[in-house]
Symmetry: C2
Subunit: 223 residues, 2 copies
């Protein structure tokens, strides 16, 4: 990255993460530690030498750490350092700002079920270190979207989502394309197809109480 | 901007503001509406045709609005739309993440007093719409840095800063280079020259209570 050469903490942050693709690499690592080949698959259109150079720059800056996983994985695994994880808040805020841009639908764009993990961080309050009540109802939800399965666990401290295995048990099952699932999770009442949702009446009531709170609760305060 | 072509609200936000220089143009407009020539001066190193193309793209995306100011200004003035002002939170969060990168000092980098307006947004809680008590002490501070004058007004609802005229009266006067002023405002206790600070004892006590709270209070919640 060519430095902006400015004594400004925004410019200096952008010197580290402002290059094309870099924030999307960080988004993938916020979803979870990842092998090079999985990162490459998760970022459609990134050139493999560009991904390598972005990872190297992030390692040098202290945002990403690479470790060699033992057999049977036997591969370098990339993860965020503690400072790197601090990018979650600015990236989630940027994603929240971008939510209106989602109403245009998928169109010709790529979609990945795993990106919904990041969308869920933007839509709902995260679990806070302090166990104050965020007011979200408790419910477990499995999301099957575009070939990926996600588990969403909501309780009064906040909402957490992660990639899970197909068939993971949950109170509510949400299935559809990423676009349909996003429309359903965000409580979008405009025209357009929604995901297929199954569960017992009590679990569904809690699920829809959760989706109707999307984007209205801000991420909570913590240092 | 070449679109990432991803159904993800972070990617779509970056399709709008992810280009090199774009977020710094937005930073300048968060400080206040600006003429083209002033924007160009405020962003050392940006090519004039690049600035024009970034502004055009931001206008087309609905982030920036251009209006013709009447005489004696008689110039196009660029400002953020309401949606564009929504970028303050993600950019301030990114700037907060970048604060550790400031400890290296200015070095060969450009510095502008007016960038401290943005630094102040990152260091202190902003005034909230709801008038809850942020716990910051009330004090007015004029900052003279690198040829610019800023007025910082702090009260229990939060801290606001803006560019002002030289000689603006205030309880506390802080003078020095941007680096010295940043070190003083951020309550940095490491080695390095600080700004020169004058005021009566009571005002100085409130000023230092403010600076010792830097970065510890998170921006408050509001929609």
């Amino acid at each position: 990255m060519k430095s902006y050469g400015e004594f400004c903490s925004l410019s200096r942050a952008l010197d580290v993460v402002g290059d094309r693709w870099t924030m999307l690499v960080v988004r993938e690592l916020l979803v979870g530690p990842s092998r090079y080949s999985d990162l490459h698959k998760a970022l459609p259109g990134i050139a493999t030498n560009l991904l390598a150079s972005r990872l190297r720059a992030l390692e040098e800056a202290g945002v990403v750490a690479a470790t060699d996983a033992p057999a049977p994985v036997s591969a370098r695994v990339y993860s965020l350092t503690e400072w790197g994880r601090g990018l979650q808040r600015p990236l989630v805020e940027l994603a929240r700002w971008g939510v209106p841009l989602m109403s245009a639908g998928t169109g010709e764009d790529h979609s990945r079920g795993r990106w919904l993990v990041f969308a869920i961080m933007a839509l709902f309050p995260e679990p806070a270190a302090t166990q104050e009540d965020s007011g979200v109802p408790a419910v477990t939800v499995r999301i099957d979207a575009d070939g990926d399965s996600l588990l969403l666990v909501s309780d009064p401290t906040g909402v957490r989502a992660s990639v899970t295995s197909a068939g993971e048990p949950a109170e509510v099952i949400v299935a559809g394309s990423s676009e349909e699932v996003f429309r359903t999770l965000s409580g979008d009442r405009t025209e357009g197809p929604h995901a297929h949702v199954t569960g017992d009446a009590d679990a569904l009531r809690r699920f829809f109480a959760l989706t109707s709170s999307a984007l209205t609760a801000r991420p909570r305060e913590s240092i």
